[in-house]
Amino acid sequence: MSCRDYLKDQIPCIITHILSMVGFTVFMSAVNIDKDIICILLISWALIVIFYIGICYCFRYRYFKQILLQLDSLDKKYLIAEVMDMPTREDDKIYYNILRTSNKSMIEEVSRSKRERGEYKEYIEQWIHDVKTPIAAMQLVCENNKSDTTRKVMAELEKISHFVDQALYYARSENVEKDYLIKEVVLSDMVHAAIGENKQLLLQNHISVRVENCEYTVYTDEKWIGFILNQLIVNGVKYRSDHPLLIFESCSEQSKVKLLIRDNGIGISASDLPRIFDKGFTGKNGRTGRNSTGIGLYLCKRLCDKLGIGISAHSKQGQGTTIELSFPKGDFVKVWG
């Protein structure tokens, strides 16, 4: 609170004093009191008023400064009424009570939505697990009755299970830290598993797949990387061109192991490229009717960030896209035992 603002609030009080002073002067002049005496009285009156306002301002200033400091140090600002001291002034007390009541209802509201959100998330996870059983059943039925028709159904099933996974990982991506298991994994194992999961999709779309030089070991969570690789494969299929090709290769650098997923698809225009990891961004390719949701790569990026893996994209329109995952080389000491 600045001095000027405080004075503004004190205007009625100051006007009252000035009016009283005028009245006082008129009265004193009427009873023939000496002008000098009136002057001295007026000056001391004014000094007392100024002194009083000054002191009051200092107290108020200190009081608000303390509250503001408390507010600043709070992580969740809406809890201020809970930590604030009970004020001594009566009008402050009223504000204090208003603040407390409003905050209390707000805190209730916040925790209610938090609870509802948590419950919804739990429900989604439960639902996803439930829906996986019929998907697995359908897959087995198809597997046991192989024909061209069931192969097509299986390719669609792969898509369904991919979408289901996407929903699951979206729900979970907030707290990756609660659900991960860092293990020593060989890149090629993860790559082969991901290709296996999309076997029908790749075969039906006549995609040539090559896995080259992926025998490096990294320390990471297999499941999350599996999801990311699935997403990248589905993208590769979705944005393919003629004679589609998907190449997985890796190389080792000083501090990291790189996994490159390269396709010869339609590519991404230079203007879209910087934004492909943004949530909801679909770009030019998305607008040409390829069913882009703008969620897949966003999720990949988010998971990579949480797992400490670098992800970047290089692309030339019409020539293809390369996604690069870089796994940091751990400073783990391997213990033989």
Partner: protein, 221 residues
Amino acid sequence: MYKIMIIEDDPVIREELSVLLRGSGYSVNIPMNFSNIINDIKNCNPHLILLDINLPVQDGFKICSNIRTFSNVPIIFVTSRDTDMDELNSIMLGGDDFITKPYNTSILLARIASLLKRAYASGQVDLMTYHEITLHLESSKVEYQNNFAELTKNELKILVFLFKNAGKIVPRADLVEYLWDNQLYIDDNALSVNITRLRDKLRQIGVADLIQTKHRQGYMI
């Protein structure tokens, strides 16, 4: 013949899994009643157990730790629960493997085979024979009357699949899928090229017309 027990409460999955496993040469036992599953296991004494986690009466973790009190039979958890806690739990309680639904059947079969091999290692020789033609899996060679020919990975796997299905017509799509399951990603055209080369190699060691082409259906030996 290995006996596999499927403990699973979804009837369709139960049914189809047993079809799949029987088709792969296992005998299958499916308990229908989950209230005294432990007795069933004791009576049946299976070589391997496929265990779901979400089950009526008792969950899979409890069953698993129960089994471990009296038997070391290999247990594969097959479940739709896929958090790392579940995986960790299953390992801690003595499960041997953990596969999440929906699963790739070839992976499931491969894991079953490798677990069985590890648990009941029978001095199995890596040889396959058909009409005096012998496949040496370890050294990737085909032999006929003491004539040898070296095979590439692709050619070896093609022959293995044909040998496994001897006497049946093998559709090209099945063959391609089998190769993909073995991490050999070749397409239809490449398959034709491989078959041609394979026929050449077989001819060189004196085997003519082993692989017949069935028009629009596939191959057969």
